[in-house]
């Protein structure tokens, strides 16, 4: 039986990609006051960002419950006895815990492997896509799990933020705290390091930010996967893709949108660049 792949909505795998690659996406939750929405399912990203900037109280987010994962496991167990789950960094969300606890909630006989991607957004998504392709090529659970684990340290997220306000208020700022509180208005550039948000540098304009992102990609010699995402500024992301096409085939650059749950912390105008380095053989 073929391995089934599960990820959470923070991988920013679009429903088209998920359908084509046979990936099940478990949504996290966004909460505006008393209203709760399933990430990417019950609220469009456009609607989300409109409310993010216009409402007084900031949204909060919650991981999927163990039961959410258990339901998915149960359904998939009807078709397979091997499931691989790749989730958002355990240092940024409790999703990993839920995925783990859910294993005890099902009676079906099914091997379930859970991998902490130590990342978020498409840099986790690229690992999931690489795993999905291996599954399509006929790999078994051990092989796919091994492949995904090896991809974790090769996957990099570089994010341009318009502001750190949302990250700070959401309590996910980590070591990027050192970029807070500048007297000058600056745009921080962050990465995820050891599963946590970490500072890279700062720029003073979105154009300088695009230059920086372009140069990061130019600094890699061997790239397996590339993805560009926007929150509210698709034109800037498209501009970046256009520039990157001199370095990497344009049709192979994934374009996605930063999910509302991640948007709760990244805020409007953020851009995310994900790079999966090729493995040295």
């Amino acid at each position: 039986m073929t391995v089934k792949l599960v990820t959470d909505s923070l991988s920013d795998i679009t429903s088209d990609m998920a359908g084509a690659l046979g990936i099940t996406v478990v949504p996290l939750y966004v909460r505006f006051g008393e209203e709760v929405y399933r990430d990417r399912v019950e609220m469009t990203t456009e609607e989300f960002y409109r409310r993010l900037v216009s409402e007084d109280t900031l949204p909060s987010t919650t991981q999927p419950t163990p039961n959410d994962f258990a339901e998915v496991y149960k359904n998939l167990a009807k078709e397979t006895d091997e499931i691989l789950v790749i989730v958002v960094s355990s240092k940024l969300s409790g999703t990993y815990q839920s995925a783990l606890q859910a294993k005890d909630l099902i009676k079906e006989k099914c091997r379930i492997e859970i991998i902490d991607s130590l990342s978020v957004a498409m840099s986790m998504g690229l690992i999931v896509i690489a795993a999905a392709k291996a599954v399509q090529a006929g790999a078994n659970l051990d092989d796919v799990a091994d492949l995904a684990r090896r991809a974790v340290p090769r996957s990099h997220l570089i994010a341009y933020f318009d502001t750190l306000k949302y990250l700070a208020k959401g309590g996910r700022i980590g070591k990027a705290q050192s970029l807070l509180g500048s007297v000058l208005s600056v745009k921080p550039i962050l990465t995820v390091k050891d599963g946590e948000m970490s500072p890279l540098t700062r720029v003073r304009s979105v154009n300088a930010g695009l230059d920086y992102l372009y140069n990061v990609v130019a600094g890699f010699s061997n790239i397996e996967g590339l993805a560009v995402e926007h929150a509210t500024t698709p034109d800037d992301a498209d501009k970046l893709v256009e520039r990157l096409s001199t370095l990497f085939p344009k049709e192979r650059i994934y374009r996605s949108i930063i999910s509302p749950v991640v948007g709760t912390y990244a805020g409007p105008d953020a851009l995310a660049l994900s790079i999966l380095e090729a493995e040295n053989k």
């Binding site: 070591k175 000058l184 304009s205």
Partner: protein, 544 residues
Amino acid sequence: MSQINSVAGQELREMFSAATSWLEKSSEEIDALNVFPVPDGDTGTNMLLTMRSTMEEAYRAPDHSASGVAQAMAKGALMGARGNSGVILSQIYRGLAQGLEGKESFTAADLANALQQSAIVAYKALSNPVEGTMLTVMKDTAAAAQAQVAGGNDDIISVLEATVNAAGDSVANTPRLLKVLKDAGVVDAGGQGLYTILEGVLRYLKGETELMRLRKPQIIVSDLPHTASLPQTVGAEEIPYGYCTEFMLKGEKLEPDDIRKRLEKKGESLIVVGDDSTVRIHIHTMEPGDIVHFATKLGTMHQVSIRNMDEQHQDFLEMQKERMPTADAAVIAVAAGDGLTDVFGSLGAATVVPGGQTMNPSTKDLLQAVESTFSDNVIILPNNKNIVLTAEQVPSLTKKTVKVVPTKTIPQGVVALLSFDYEADFNTNVQIMEKALSSVRSIEVTRAVRSTKVNGLKIKRKQPIGLLDGDLVAVGDSNIDVINQVLAKIDLDKAEIVTIYYGAEAESAEAEQISAIISEQHPQLQIEVIRGGQPHYSYIISIE
């Protein structure tokens, strides 16, 4: 949303019990914030242990009345109080118990009164209450609750909601009140602990127990710019912190006020609380023996704890390293004026050495700054062409690895520091910073010190003159006139950001006027006006 109009003893106990579990989840992070009164990194743990003792006693309460439970909590807190924050917390519960005395259950108004009483009792416990600590947070919290009730609100949940928000704001504000917090870039640990407890109470009453299981309390982040430390004198002896000495004294006819007075000169952070039979004493002292000796004469000592705070401080420093990014180098900048000092400090300069045009720092000043930074790899930004040479003497005088990025103006220094890459190694950062220099043009406006003729310009003494990247290119009758002339020599179509730092002698109104003029001529530019406070230059303008 559901409303709650009164709470009885059982519920009081449950809500603080939930708050204790909530606090437990972030006690280590609160430890890491602890820099005041002594950076020994134990506030979160101390508050948690105090809460545990508080709750153990709460379950032994003689009855289920709010009053009975609150009395038991106060007793438990006093018996188990640990550290400064724990003792203050015990006084908060004591105030709460006084406020709820004789009540079977309490209303929003009762709660507001009890919180008020908590603030009063907590302040009284210290001989020198310091603002910007959990005392301030307690006071602000109580005031918010009072305001809600005075406004006619009788729903305990929404009163608490406003109260917890006020507590959060108060915590975020602590670095404004207490400089050591601002310097360390943290909020007050005890204040954060108190906020977390109150937040736990609120979440419990709102029925968010499932959510509390899944989530973690948030550490409040201050939006205050970090300050760079001023250079410290090398070799100055560090003052030891001594011993944190605390115990419970049991006896008869004890007089806490009297004991406090007797111990006042024996050390720092003294807290003496309790009644005539039980007194808890907490003090930071060099001579714990004296304190013990004094206490044994008054009664019997219990739960004696004497800890070496210097040891704790070392552990704390290790803990801090985990918190901050592990950059490979420290940057030292030279700048004059409090505004510019803040600009460099807030961008992460480890030290800002005072200096600039006509007030060049000495090689020794720079060397001292290098020696006193935490890193063995140091980058110096001289930010003035006359200081570049001085700075270049430093590398040969120290064992540390020092590189000078030859920034000749403040704008060059700012773009260099901005481009610092936290993940890059030392040499790469030097290269990145050097490369960044070409991305900025610098305009400086000052007044001629004498009448002269330069570059074909006839200049009269005291006339405003303009420099572009260090070259004198304009003279005029007003600052605005000079700036316009210099700007005309630059291709602004390719520029994106103009930053105007106005000096100590310039007016913010004039700076805004200049900003408006540039903006009108070049609407695509993003213009920022910042008070630099620098002497000598009325304006320093950066064009990126």
